[in-house]
């Protein structure tokens, strides 16, 4: 049925409208078209359908207005069925023979012609509900939330006795005045101290691991020098270079070596003290100058061992989360080998 199609199109177009009037008007058009279809019509001309829908809406509006006026006349604010019946009579009462007067008797079912007609209509006509599901409208835009709350709702006292409490509250002073802005950070001295101590410990650990690597390189000398065969050749070449330059290099390296070991000296001390081994500290204090000399004599390339240690440090970083037993073992080994080196200085010089 094209009537149905037209009705469906109307309903579909109505869902796309944003204005509430257009939506309700389109829904009314669809409903009126459905009623006309039940009467017998198959097709509709749009102007005719529009005007008929407008009339139907006007009918509803007029009915409501008249009914509420009747209710207000009797001192009520809400309508009841008799108000509606009276309004119906008021709208179309010309057909009555008795002058069309609205009397109290016409409120009853027996007397009211219009109501009888409606009853007959309900009984006779087929029930045909609205075909499209209609959403609940008008959609309430939460305007209440956008409303400014009153003084009572906020709990403020208005500045001045002349302002009643039920009026909307004044805006906050920061909206119209420049007030100082503080970024308040909660001070936590204890937390700060803990954080600081943690960072210091971290730095100390890093330094210790670096120092350990250096010592390992010195102590486990054969392994390291074995890897650096090419480097040994370079060492030979460097030796062939005029001794002044090599001397300079050695001096600078010595300076570097000195600075490195000097830097680690306090950390080493702290580590040794931490392990509570007095003998070791004494021995290390004695051995430090020997270690220094070893550095001077053995390391002929500029900065190479440092780079090595740094590279090794990078590779060993996952391992540098040291267990204390490892540290102890390595330290003991380092000391043992240093002792050996001391006893056999000749062998090292030959390397």
């Amino acid at each position: 049925m094209s009537g149905e199609r037209a009705q469906e199109d109307l309903a579909a177009s109505s869902s796309g409208c944003s204005e509430s009037y257009e939506f309700s008007h389109a829904a009314a058009k669809a409903a009126v078209a459905q009623v006309c279809e039940s009467v017998g019509y198959e097709h509709f001309k749009d102007p005719a359908l529009e005007s008929l829908a407008g009339f139907a809406l006007q009918y509803i509006l007029q009915l409501g207005k008249t009914a509420i006026s009747f209710a207000n006349l009797t001192g009520r604010s809400q309508c009841n069925v008799f108000d509606i019946i009276l309004a119906l009579e008021d709208l179309t009462g010309d057909g009555d023979d008795d002058g069309g007067g609205v009397s109290s008797e016409s409120c009853s079912l027996g007397r009211s012609v219009k109501l009888k007609g409606i009853v007959d209509f309900v009984n006779s006509s087929e029930e045909m509900p609205f075909s499209q599901p209609l959403p609940r409208f008008p959609v309430a835009i939460s305007k209440k939330k956008m409303m400014i709350p009153s003084f009572v709702e906020i709990g403020e006292t208005p500045p001045g006795n002349h302002i009643p409490l039920w009026l909307p509250a004044f805006p906050d002073p920061h909206t119209y005045k420049e007030t100082p802005m503080w970024i308040e950070r909660a001070s936590d001295p204890r937390g700060d101290k803990i954080e600081q101590a943690r960072q210091r410990r971290k730095a100390e650990r890093a330094l210790l691991s670096l120092q350990r690597k250096l010592v390992c390189k010195i102590s486990s000398g054969t392994r390291v020098w074995g890897d650096m065969d090419g480097v040994n050749e370079d060492e030979g070449e460097l030796r062939s270079v005029p001794p002044s330059i090599s001397g300079e290099k050695v001096e600078s390296l010595n300076r570097d070596g000195l600075s490195v070991v000097e830097a680690f000296a306090p950390a080493m001390e702290a580590a040794r003290d931490g392990f509570c081994s007095e003998v070791d500290t004494e021995w290390n204090k004695k051995k430090k100058p020997d270690a220094l000399s070893k550095l001077r004599t053995e390391k002929k390339f500029l900065g190479e061992p440092l780079d090595l240690s740094l590279k090794m440090k990078g590779e060993d970083r996952p391992l540098s989360f040291v267990r204390e037993e490892d540290r102890d073992d390595k330290r003991r080994r380092a000391e043992f080998i240093l002792r050996q080196c001391m006893e056999n200085p000749v062998d090292l010089n030959q390397l």
Partner: protein, 134 residues
Amino acid sequence: MNHGQQSGEAKHEDDAALTEFLASLMDYTPTIPDDLVEHYLAKSGFQCPDVRLIRLVAVATQKFVADVASDALQHCKARPAPVVKDKKQQKEKRLILTMEDLSKALREYGVNVKHPEYFADSPSTGMDPATREE
């Protein structure tokens, strides 16, 4: 007194019939949806939490529209059928709701929706209606 008693009884009967009718309204779903009717009634100031009254208004409006439409249909059917050109073409009339039929139907209800005529439709356009033959 008897007359008063009788009228009293009649009133009771009427009230009972009214109550019964309102109850029956809940079974009958009007074509015009309740939400729509409630929206327009609220526009005019009518406020009622009772659904039956809303349905009553909806049914009344439906009856009104049905009456107008049926009158227009009568007018449409009463108009002579168009000239049949083909022999095959049956005497079928396309029942279309037009402004002409609607205006004729609404005139009985006291509503004037006469479409203004186009200037060049007929030679009598724009002439005084009293002189025109209708």
